[in-house]
Symmetry: C2
Subunit: 278 residues, 2 copies
């Protein structure tokens, strides 16, 4: 906005009074640890039994040019600048399936839930992280299979009902290199890991999970042209999360994930902020 008087009043205050008050950043940051411990609810679940004092961001920077399944990538431009307007801000344009984002059930299936239909109680869930980094490093077409889920449960216990089950393929580290992240120049020649439809439907039907998540561009592996997981899993009215980050920095079991999706009007999903506490 370029509003009459705004530039002059704000700039004049800064010029005549200097930058206002004491910069309390150091004090604020110094208090952050204690304040976090005070703010974080204690974990009743989880293996430690101790208070939840850890938090991990699971979200990529939402940057201009973020790799997307198809064009366009997110774009931004200045809306206002300090010098011209007295304040600074940007305008954004992007497809809903950009950055760390949700696939709502209605993304593929008419009549299923769109983003605002998913209540906040569905956005807080036990987090289970299935690590397939070793096989994905050998084969970019690797999938989370039912056998990976059973192996996970032998090591970490049963996946709780209502969980969000996330694949950690190691792909998050590639996000700044679009070709590496996609494993190919353009669809249908992508190669990156995803869920097998059998594994996704096992989680829906046998474990009654709330959602699945991946650290890649798609719930399906990149070489899929039939999008079975999108059709079948979203078809159960459950949601997915794509392009998760930092899954290697949370415990495989016992954390709680918060899926802070913006309630985009009639959204087919859309950008979100996810973090985990434990």
């Amino acid at each position: 906005m370029c509003l009459p008087g705004t530039v002059e009043t704000v700039r004049e205050r800064i010029e005549t009074e200097g930058l206002p008050r004491l910069d309390r950043r150091a004090a604020l940051l110094g208090a952050a640890g204690a304040a976090l411990a005070a703010a974080l609810p204690a974990a009743a679940r989880g293996r430690s039994g101790a208070g939840a004092t850890s938090v991990q961001d699971l979200t990529h920077l939402f940057f201009e040019g973020f790799p997307t399944f198809g064009p366009p990538s997110p774009a931004r431009e200045d809306y206002a600048t300090y010098g011209v307007n007295g304040f600074y801000s940007q305008t954004w344009t992007f497809h809903e399936h950009s950055g760390t984002h949700m696939d709502a059930p209605g993304h593929f299936i008419p009549g299923k839930r769109l983003t605002p239909d998913i209540p906040v109680s569905d956005l807080i869930a036990p987090l289970a992280v299935i690590d397939i980094r070793r096989k994905a490093a050998r084969n970019p077409d690797a999938m989370v299979e039912v056998s990976d889920i059973r192996k996970y449960e032998r090591a970490h216990g049963a996946i709780p009902a209502g969980a969000l089950v996330a694949m950690d393929s190691g792909w998050a580290a590639k996000v700044e290199n679009s070709d590496a992240f996609k494993g190919g120049a353009a669809f249908p020649n992508y190669h990156f890991p995803g869920f097998s439809s059998d594994a996704a439907m096992f989680l829906a039907e046998e474990r009654n999970v709330r959602a699945i998540g991946v650290d890649t561009l798609s719930l399906d592996p990149g070489n899929s042209s039939t999008f079975d997981v999108h059709v079948n899993f979203l078809g159960t009215n459950r949601y997915g999360v794509e392009n998760l980050a930092n899954l290697g920095s949370v415990p495989p079991a016992g954390a709680t994930v918060y899926v802070g999706v913006i309630p985009w009007e009639e959204g087919s999903g859309g950008p979100l902020r996810a973090f985990a506490t434990w």
Copy 2:
């Protein structure tokens, strides 16, 4: 995206196989209550001493035409439709200060933190809600004053360090009527409640809060042309949240707020999903 084969493969699957699998929505929703109780961490803080089993969304629907301080309002258009593309999605264009959103410290003050500079540990905070609905109903220029904070603390105890302190003026109910929400056709003729600069700086300097929030369009009251709270409070490198919803549905003290702001690249703030648990 209009990718070769996508429409055909997905549509063909639906046409030949029908909508996939059993619609498990009813089962999912039936399990939601128990799953939420399992997912939500127990509250070590809070007045009840019992487990945290309540959650409240504090976010407005992000809708086309959402009232903004200045033009433009958020806009959306179809990117893909089921019939043409085999899936559905949208493209969005908006100014960062749309919907329920953050004002990052760098929105007004050069060199202060932008959205991605704010760590996730700063996005989880004890929530204190100061109710000024009675005086705001009589006077749309009402402000949260230091006396309101002292009155709150006599009733609910000291505001904890690191808190997010939110004003509940009752304005959230007006959001679908832009003129009523703004209290005037255009700046500088707005009338809606906000914080007084003295109150905001009391919270920064005497209570070391992490952030302030409002259920109106601006941290400052609508009739401000000097934006004192933006200049002074954001100048301490603390952030603000605007257009919060449902503040009357959370306890005045004892809840924890999660500020799920998208980490917009070089963001001056931006849309977020906020919710509270207690």
